[in-house]
């Protein structure tokens, strides 16, 4: 009797164990948030999800945004594709075209959450021409010119919201002999350069594609933008520059710089700015301790007008990748939905208050959202916040024309065609028209593949 009970029990137990094992699922999550404090927050979210879901393991891996496409290609080739990634929309569209994205899971999540809860424009950006969702919009930022309001006032300069104003101010604020620079535009061959160029190009009505999907990049409008860009770059610190040079602004050595809303917490909080001010620069030379007046003295011009008004922004999305294991796919879908749950969503967005803006309606008005732990939203005040977010109404990019998305734009982005063109003109001093011709030829090659 006793013995049979033991046997029954052990059979039951082993059955339970087996069912546990078959339920076991892994979600490997690659995120473009590589800073250690952000990774910690994402780890925390992952652990919470693990605690709520037996047998599911979430593995968080930080991958640099510029390396994401390359790393993905290597992973696919090696058969070690992650289940989920978080990256910008251009890379998402390029990956979508490679046929490795699990559009069914995306459709499922949208059905569960409700399509109407997403901002329409954000969803459109990640939709394929066939109407499939290549990714799910998660957070977005806008870019504009951040500038020293106090210096502008001192010199009687107008806000840098038109081409003329920007050029005038850049010239007036540059004093190279005293290590002072008027502006920073990207000149390195990376995505920051493309982002700065895109905003200026859009304000000049330059485009990559027309509404029929024809390549129209090689146009007088683009050429004019390149020439203007070249002139601006004269007021840059010497040599190729990228976003890291924002440190010069924080050190009080630069008048204007293009940056996304991600800069908001650096400007406001000494703790966050520290990374830019000391650890990676020579202490005695940096010339900068944290300037508590910087928030007050900094203003933001999100919209630049020339032939039309343009703000530029990009969004990051969550992308489920095809997997042969049903359990993994199910766990990935659950994890994505968990990430959209207001509690976890707000926790995520608070990693960079103002930098990461919600893509679900209603979150921005949530009192919990406006009450970030460091008080950044309070420091900026409601009015400034409203001005910053106003940029989202006019958000544009190269990949969406007339409500239609052109994934080829993502492939062109991934191959850094535009940043290399800019580098050639600004640093190598090559002829703008010839460089533009070469870039167009390269774009055609990429599209032919």
């Amino acid at each position: 009797m006793n013995q049979s009970l033991t046997i029954t029990r052990s059979i039951l137990l082993s059955g339970l164990l087996i069912s546990q094992i078959s339920n076991a699922a892994t979600v490997e999550f690659w995120t473009a948030q590589t800073q250690s404090d952000r990774l910690q927050t994402i780890e925390l979210l992952a652990s919470t999800f693990e605690a709520l879901n037996d047998g599911v393991t979430v593995k968080v891996v930080g991958v640099d945004e510029n390396e994401m496409a390359t790393q993905m290609a290597a992973a696919v080739a090696a058969g070690t594709t992650p289940q989920l990634i978080e990256v910008n929309s251009e890379i998402i569209m390029a990956l979508g075209e490679e046929g490795i994205v699990d559009t069914q899971t995306h459709q499922g999540v949208i059905n569960d959450i409700g399509k109407r809860r997403f901002h329409t424009g954000a969803l459109t950006t990640l939709t394929s021409p066939q109407g499939q969702y290549y990714g799910l919009p998660y957070h977005g930022w806008i870019q504009g010119i951040w500038y020293r309001k106090d210096w502008f006032d001192e010199k009687g300069l107008a806000a840098p919201n038109t081409w003329e104003n920007i050029a005038t101010a850049a010239k007036a604020l540059t004093d190279k002999a005293n290590n002072q620079y008027g502006i920073l535009v990207g000149t390195k061959q990376d995505s920051y350069t493309e982002q700065v160029f895109t905003q200026l190009a859009l304000s000049n009505n330059a485009a990559e594609f027309d509404a029929e999907g024809h390549l129209v990049f090689n146009s007088p409008a683009t050429l004019e933008t390149i020439q203007y860009y070249k002139d601006l770059a004269l007021y840059n610190p010497p040599g190729p520059q990228n976003w890291r040079a924002r440190d010069y602004y924080l050190q009080g050595k630069m008048g204007m710089f293009f940056y996304s809303t991600y800069i908001m917490d650096d400007l406001a909080l000494a703790e966050v700015a520290k990374g830019s001010l000391s650890s990676e620069n020579f202490k005695e030379l940096s010339g900068g301790t944290f300037d508590p007046e910087l928030v007050k003295n900094t203003a933001f011009a999100p919209i630049i007008s020339h032939k039309s008004a343009a703000s530029y922004g990009t969004l990051s999305g969550l992308v489920a990748l095809k997997t042969s294991r049903a359990a993994d796919a199910k766990a990935t879908k659950d994890f994505i939905e968990f990430m959209y749950d207001p509690a976890s969503y707000i926790t995520f967005l608070h990693m960079a208050p103002g930098g990461m803006n919600p893509m679900l309606k209603g979150i921005a008005e949530d009192p919990a959202y406006l009450d970030d732990p460091n008080g950044v939203f309070k420091l900026y005040g409601a009015d400034k916040m409203k001005q910053i977010v106003s940029g989202f109404d006019d958000i544009r990019s190269f990949s969406v024309v007339g409500g239609k998305t052109f994934p080829a734009s993502g492939a062109i982005f991934a191959k850094s065609v535009i940043p290399r063109m800019i580098y050639d003109v600004t640093i190598e001093g090559k002829d703008p028209q010839q460089t533009l011709d070469a870039a167009e030829a390269e774009m055609k090659t990429i599209m032919a593949q």
Binding site: A69, T70, M72, A73, A74, V76, A77, A94, L95, E98, G99, I100, K176, A177, N179, Y181, K188, Q189, P237, P238, G239, P240, Q241, A245, D247, Y248, Q251, K253, E280, N281, F282, L285, S286, G287, A411, F413, A414, K415, S416, R420, Y423, I427, E428, T445, Q449
Partner: protein, 288 residues
């Protein structure tokens, strides 16, 4: 009887060699052949392939950047190979003399070679930072040699030379080490005989040291050529705008979505060139 024995022995020999042949085939021959095969296709990430014939090759050979990168590579190779060899030789001859703390000095010379490349690269970058770096601080603010701050690493005209300088500094210790090892085995009586013949130090170097070191120098040069033709990390981390062949390959094939077909085509050409060069060098210079 003996013929059976010979047969058995040769069969055993084959069996003993088979694993090695198998491993080499699997790890060396197969990837090369597969690479050759891939170079004729447009490969998508999900695994599907489209045959494009010689398209990858014609595109590559029609790209002016390709020839530019070959030119940059040649300057880089000449600069670094000569630089490391000469500096390594000089250091080895110096360190072969007897003086106090010689062992300590011998060890210290190796330091750049030990240091992880990522940390020294960032060190160099901070030194040459145009706004905050110590180089500009000293040259412009302290010594007032020029009025304009320079970005030596970023400026394309000087970047190649900074990269060459960096490579020489980082890698001359390996040449030094090989030369020093050989120098210590050169018999003293050769030098004494040369001295009796009336040779001054320069003559002794020319008639004794150099002939003795001939093969080591040739080996060092060969190794450096192979290494530096394929060197990626030092150049890319320090100055990604110096487009040597590996950097060009990276931008063409591995930046963004990997273009496996194009990457294969580039590596096939590079392999052929490298094999040809080495064959020529081994036959003509090393005379093996």
């Amino acid at each position: 009887m003996s013929s059976v024995l010979i047969k058995n022995e040769s069969r055993l020999g084959l069996k003993l060699v088979a694993p090695a042949v198998g491993i080499i085939g699997l790890l060396v021959i197969y990837p090369i052949l597969f690479n050759l095969y891939l170079s004729f296709f447009d490969v998508q990430l999900n695994g599907s392939k489209t045959f494009v014939g010689l398209n990858n090759y014609t595109e590559l050979l029609g790209n002016p950047r390709y020839y530019h990168s070959i030119g940059v590579s040649v300057i880089y190779l000449i600069g670094t190979v000569i630089g490391t060899t000469v500096l390594g030789l000089a250091a080895a001859i110096l360190m072969n003399q007897t003086f106090r703390f010689r062992n300590l000095a011998r060890g210290l010379i190796l330091l750049p070679y030990f240091a992880p490349v990522i940390s020294v690269v960032f060190g160099w970058q901070f030194i040459f930072d145009p706004v905050n770096g110590i180089y500009n601080h000293v040259v412009v603010d302290v010594l007032h040699l020029t009025n304009e701050r320079e970005n030596l690493i970023g400026n394309p005209d000087s970047a190649l030379f900074v990269v060459i300088l960096f490579d020489i500094w980082k890698h001359f210790p390996i040449a030094y080490l090989l030369f020093l090892a050989k120098l210590q085995s050169v018999p003293k009586d050769l030098y004494e005989a040369a001295a009796i013949d009336g040779q001054n130090p320069w003559g002794r170097f020319w008639h004794v040291t150099l002939p003795e070191l001939r093969f080591v120098i040739a080996t060092v040069v060969l190794l450096r050529v192979i290494w530096n033709l394929n060197r990626f990390e030092d150049v890319y981390l320090l100055a990604p705008n110096v487009e040597t062949l590996p950097i060009f390959t990276y931008y063409q094939a591995f930046a963004g979505i990997v273009d496996q077909g194009a990457a294969a085509a580039i590596s096939v050409i590079q392999l052929l060139v490298l094999v040809g060069l080495i064959w020529l060098y081994v036959r003509k210079v090393l005379k093996w």
